[in-house]
């Protein structure tokens, strides 16, 4: 395992003056050099797309189209009638081939729509619309209509996040450009290539929330992005809104919502509470870009920048993909798999899901697909806990992962609530540092199933 290294020298500030969260965290190797320098590349649309109906947190969409129906690019194909959710749009012009189920990394299978792509149809040209005259609630409706969710990984419907409860007034917007997971460079490339749109998206969110202050947190290992974003933010800031870039120390999990809020504002979000309870709303930089596209151009969210990296793929890349593109089509486009491939992960190596099939399609929240070889992953067997306490030091939430693991192994998972099992957001810092290689995140997930929420 290589030691932690920086891909580029820090030229912005010295490390002490950079912001970070004070407790816990780890320094996994950054490993971003494989794709950090690669521009976003548009992958040609494959013959077939498969759209999972439950892309977001909440109720899955019900299809609004029938089998064999012809649809246009950007047409509504699914919506949520009751409950939390956002509409789903077709990424292409084509024909609904099937309404069935698809393979899914977490839920094994999930309801989905299969679309046969019409390669003859001309791509839709989206025109700039008049949005400045719209008020906050009209803009919020546009965000909902564009099917926008938190694309950093959580998948929470954005319009809900942008309508904080009446009792908690919000005064600060944070944009998350930390991208603290190893390998992933999709947000980095978005910030380099679409800085103005991201800052424009921030302006729209400020207008929706009716506030003036925005901070964009970026880890110091992306000095070029910090430079681009600072320039764009300087142009956009005016008397009635201020957008500032904050350089963050490189430390995992810097991009976690609670840790980012603490690093930049010093405020602590209480357990079981939302960021709005301390007056903050956090959005990913790529979500801000999606909001800009959705509001300014009326373009729904159906494309995603995804980092493809690892020694197991012939050609690493940052690809602009249609939502619903299957992994096997990406593999074919990039020249196939390498023989040493051992594990395929959707997401980063710290929190991503290992997948067992190339038939799985990407969703709005996929930020990376990693093809890792045997020497890039850890396969060592775990042993008994030696109570070294390193997990206590690494936990950013101040929990006791070792105790949770010992209790789960002793069949006492229901007694783990006092060790803070429900505060755990499964960042994996504890399991990363564990010298006994214990699967602590797995223990936590088992404990969450059996323990009672307070």
């Amino acid at each position: 395992m290589p030691v932690c290294r920086r891909s580029t020298p820090i030229e912005v500030q010295n490390i002490e003056s950079m912001l970070t969260f004070p407790k816990g965290g780890t320094h996994p190797p950054e490993l971003k050099e494989q794709t950090a320098g690669l521009s976003i590349e548009v992958m040609p649309v494959p013959d077939e797309l498969e759209l999972i109906l439950g892309q977001h947190i909440g109720a899955p969409c019900t299809p609004t189209v029938a089998r064999k129906e012809e649809i246009a690019e950007g047409a509504l194909i699914g919506e949520v009638k009751r409950g939390l959710g956002v509409p789903l749009h077709s990424p292409v012009a084509g024909k609904i081939k099937a309404i069935g189920t698809s393979a899914h990394p977490m839920r094994v299978t999930a309801p989905s729509l299969t679309i046969g792509v019409d390669h003859e149809a001309a791509p839709v040209q989206y025109m700039e619309q008049d949005w400045q005259s719209s008020d906050g609630s009209e803009l919020l409706q546009k965000v909902n209509d564009a099917g926008i969710i938190g694309v950093g990984g959580a998948g929470f419907p954005t319009h809900v996040k942008l309508s904080p409860p009446a009792g908690s007034p919000v005064d600060i917007l944070l944009l998350n450009g930390a991208e603290c997971e190893p390998y992933i460079t999709s947000d980095h490339r978005q910030m380099l290539e679409h800085a103005a749109e991201i800052v424009g998206g921030a302006g729209i969110i400020l207008k929706i929330l009716g506030i003036k202050e925005c901070y964009i947190g970026i880890e110091s290992n992306k000095p070029d992005a910090i430079k681009m974003m600072t320039a764009a933010a300087g142009k956009a800031s005016s008397g009635d809104c201020s957008i500032k870039i904050e350089t963050l120390q490189v430390k995992y999990p810097q991009g976690s919502e609670k840790q980012l809020i603490q690093a930049i504002t010093g405020r602590k979000v209480p357990a079981m509470a939302l960021p709005s309870s301390v007056g903050v709303v956090v959005q990913n930089v790529s979500t801000a870009k999606a909001i800009y596209d959705g509001v300014v151009y009326g373009k729904p969210l159906y494309e995603k920048v995804v980092t493809i990296a690892g020694k197991g793929i012939s050609k690493p890349a940052n690809l602009l993909l249609k939502v619903g593109t299957r992994i096997k089509d990406i593999v074919d486009y990039l020249g196939g798999l390498e023989p040493g491939l051992s594990k395929i992960i959707m997401g980063g190596p710290m929190m991503g899901f290992a997948v067992s099939s190339l038939d799985i399609p990407i969703t709005k929240t996929t930020s990376a697909i990693l093809f890792l070889s045997e020497d890039e992953i850890d396969t060592s067997p775990h042993s008994q806990c030696i109570r070294c306490g390193w997990c206590l030091e690494a936990c950013p939430m101040g929990l006791e992962p070792k105790e949770i693991g010992i209790y789960v192994e002793a069949n006492r998972a229901e007694d783990t609530e006092p060790f803070g099992v429900f505060d755990c957001f499964e960042c994996g810092s504890c399991a990363y540092v564990c010298p006994a290689k214990r699967p602590l995140v797995q223990f936590v997930r088992l404990a969450k199933m059996k323990a009672k929420r307070p």
Partner: protein, 351 residues
Amino acid sequence: MIKQQVSEDQATAPVKLWKVSVSPHIKSGESVEKIMWTVVACLMPPLILSVFIFGIQTLFITAVSVVSCVAVEAVSQKALGRRVTIKDGSAVLTGLLLAFVIPPGVSPLLPILAAVFAIYIGKHLLGGIGYNFFNPALLGRAFLLASFPVAMTSAWLLPVESFGIFSYLGTSIDAVSTATPLAVMKEQGMAAFTEAFGSGAGLYSSFFLGWRPGCIGETSGLLLLLGGAYLLYRKYITYHIPGSILGTIALLTWVFGGETYFGGDPLLALVTGGAILGAFFMATDYVTSPTTRISQVVYGICIGALTVLIRLKGGYPEGICYAILLMNPLSTVLDSWFKPKRFAPPQGGAE
């Protein structure tokens, strides 16, 4: 494309499946083996010095101790139907530490018996690594001290003259045995101590470098400190436990250790006996020590206080072994009293 490839391979070779597991998929390069072998390496310089101080038979006793600990570990794990983990170095470390806390002039049978007690009863019958609540090496020493009190308190050797490392071979131990500085101090008083070992700066430096009677590993404070410093540098241990133990021993000895209050010699208390070995290598054993910073400091202060209490008022000249053993089972209790500080309690909640 991929499916074709797989089906072609199926005819000739078994399919290589992709791995799936819960995140994180990468882990740091640290491991139990790496930690244990690093500690073993840190104990090599004092062992080598010990050969030059007490003669070649210290190496023999250490080897017997290490081999028997590893053998007992392997046999215990086989007998209990567990995975044999002798490669992780923990039994080697126990064997080494066990040899370090017995006198250099004992019969080689003693470490064999101690290894059986420490590893089989003290570790594997309690559940194996991680579940033993006493430090196995110190448990072995306590067992020997109770079973062979004469050998364990009299088989001390005077440092050999100028590289005569073979000079004790073949001689009767009774003929050459001597007393440790702490024993002289306790049983015969300060005057006899000064007569036997001298005083002033020369005394401190010869004790610090290791030229004095003592257990195999507790000779050179300097080399043990260097080893401990390396463990601190690697972040395998923190200063909390050794710092609080040594600080408490120095403070309490200064206050209560002399003829009058505040008349004790704190520096002498640190360089004699097993204070440095115990503070850096015994009390910091992960399994038997607390994990949160506050409980580590409380644990260290208690060990230091018990050590001074035993040295000044108890029946033994040195007390750190029993002090650590007494505190070992309390480390989980301390951890449950001093919990890590949570990120933020629930809003308006009970906490």
